[in-house]
């Protein structure tokens, strides 16, 4: 990658009118912009980000990339995403720190163990090589684990971890080279229907006093998406939920898989830099939520995380956290993403509601959304992800493997 490739600027020139305006410069918006610029080079595309490019969930997640889900559709889309990840560093010309050490799930109850056993059948039906392990086999895989109380485990060697930031830089610089205007530090303060050269579309008002007309607008603002939707009266049920995470001092490499203790919701992995990156499920957010993104951190989380982690990885007792932060999950009520034309506004395209697994799905979603925007091609998941399913009462829970 050239050291001077632009990855978005606060002073990037914005065209007066574009075919597609993508609001939100996270991995979803930028992967979509990049794929669109490859598929339809003549299309005028811009990305508008209110802060800096990795300021949202794309820069705050744990970097897990897995195909172990409870639902065949999610397994399949993640296998697409993993297949793209395999060559993505070369395509985007940046080191993504993609390391396939697998994901190891631990079950501490019979109910959880039978869920994992059922999932293996789902995985095999779509070709994912997940194996069932005993507690002893799990310990052979990661000798540092204390497997007391572990009933069963599953392992998929194709899963892995990445360093999230360079994904965003890579998509941004390659999209920018192909002519996508990426404007950072610029807030959208208003949006209304407007015509331009006798085309119907939307006028976006920016806090700088500028405005951009777009034939179609993609809402890729994730956990912030209700803000833009409210400006248009689009009523969707996804809401932010705060999740905390820590990174420890680095250790020399010892831990290949990302480990999930499914009953406590604990996950931990070792980054390529050597740090242990870890978090745990907190059903109640300390300090409360309030319907908008909240990026606080809490001692409650740190203590619960430390208790859960040191029980299963005793050597962690001696480790020091260097940094604790938080990021928003964009929670959809049925756990499925919200992608496609908005109810009442067909030219406002949502790509939201990914419920904590958007980052890992983004390589596949960027590609399928670009295809949809280009020629209307409908990937099978777009049927399930239709934004109007909530209003029509057609929402159904598919997935029970949501971690963190």
């Amino acid at each position: 990658m050239s050291a001077t490739a632009s990855m978005g600027r606060r002073d990037a020139a914005l065209p007066e009118a574009v075919d597609v305006a993508i609001v939100g410069g996270g991995v979803m918006g930028l992967a979509t912009a990049y794929e669109l610029s490859k598929r339809a080079p003549d299309l005028r595309v811009c990305v508008i980000e209110s802060s800096y490019l990795v300021s949202g969930a794309s820069g705050r997640n744990g970097g897990g990339v897995r195909s172990q889900w409870g639902d065949a559709g999610n397994v399949s889309i993640m296998r697409e995403s993993l297949a793209i990840c395999r060559g993505l560093a070369q395509t985007l010309r940046i080191n993504l720190w993609f390391r396939r050490g697998g994901y190891l799930f631990l079950a501490r109850s019979d109910a959880t163990a039978s869920r994992l056993a059922r999932n293996i059948e789902v995985h095999r039906s779509v070709g994912a090589p997940t194996e069932q392990l005993t507690a002893r086999e799990a310990k052979e895989l990661v000798p540092e684990l204390d497997v007391t109380g572990v009933h069963a485990a599953t392992f998929n060697p194709e899963d892995g971890v990445v360093f999230p930031w360079p994904f965003v830089w890579g998509y941004a610089s390659e999209a920018s080279k192909r002519g996508v205007a990426i404007r950072t530090h610029t807030r959208v303060t208003g949006i209304e229907e407007a015509t331009h050269a006798s085309n119907v579309g939307y006028e976006l008002a920016l806090h700088t006093g500028e405005s951009v007309w777009a034939q179609r607008v993609v809402n890729a603002t994730g956990a912030w998406s209700p803000v833009l939707n409210e400006m248009l009266g689009i009523d969707l049920p996804n809401r932010p939920h705060r999740h905390e995470i820590i990174s420890t001092e680095p250790l020399k490499p010892f831990l290949d898989p990302l480990v999930v203790d499914l009953d406590s919701g604990l996950y931990f992995s070792q980054s390529t830099r050597g740090e242990i990156v870890t978090g745990v499920t907190m059903h109640e957010v300390p300090g409360g939520e309030g319907g908008r993104v909240n990026l606080g951190t809490s001692l409650t989380f740190l203590e619960r995380m430390a208790s859960s982690l040191t029980a299963v990885l005793p050597l962690a007792r001696a480790l020091h956290p260097v940094r604790q932060w938080s990021g928003p999950y964009d929670i959809s009520p049925d756990g499925d993403a919200i992608v496609g034309s908005s109810p009442g506004h067909p030219n406002i395209i949502q790509v939201c509601g990914f419920t904590g697994h958007g980052f890992m799905m983004a390589p596949a979603v960027g590609r399928l959304l670009a295809a949809y925007l280009h020629d209307g091609a409908r990937h099978p998941m777009l049927e399930r992800w239709r934004p109007e399913r909530f209003a029509l009462g057609q929402s159904r829970r598919h997935e029970d493997m949501i971690i963190g």
Binding site: Y52, S55, T300, S307, H320, P321, Q324
Partner: protein, 105 residues
């Protein structure tokens, strides 16, 4: 400072790396942290923040807002996960929510 001077010793970030970040269009310290990795090691910016600010002033970054240090993260002092786990048995006292990033990005 030469181009080979280390700004961040934890993560081996040099003046040249910071200049590359400026050329790529990153001007705020939050962005330079995430592009170069400066400040993400054991010192968490305690050592490298002042050299970076000095460099940015030298390079003509004009705006005091863009010289804001990145958000400092807990814990403020070193504490082991073992001590935290033992402490969890004594108290699970919620701390007040911090005002970090209230101007939602």
């Amino acid at each position: 400072m030469t181009t080979r001077t280390f700004i961040c010793r934890c993560e081996d970030v040099t003046v040249k790396d910071c200049d590359a970040a400026l050329q790529a269009g990153f001007e705020t310290i939050e962005e330079i942290k995430r592009f170069t990795g400066m400040g993400t090691g054991p010192c968490q910016g305690r050592e490298c923040m002042v050299p970076l600010c000095t460099l940015l002033r030298e390079r003509g970054v004009p705006d005091a807002d863009r010289l804001q240090p990145f958000t400092s993260r807990p814990p403020a002092a070193q504490i082991s996960l073992g001590s935290l786990a033992d402490g969890a048995r004594i108290s699970l006292t919620p701390s007040p929510t911090r005002a970090e990033d209230e101007g939602t990005p």
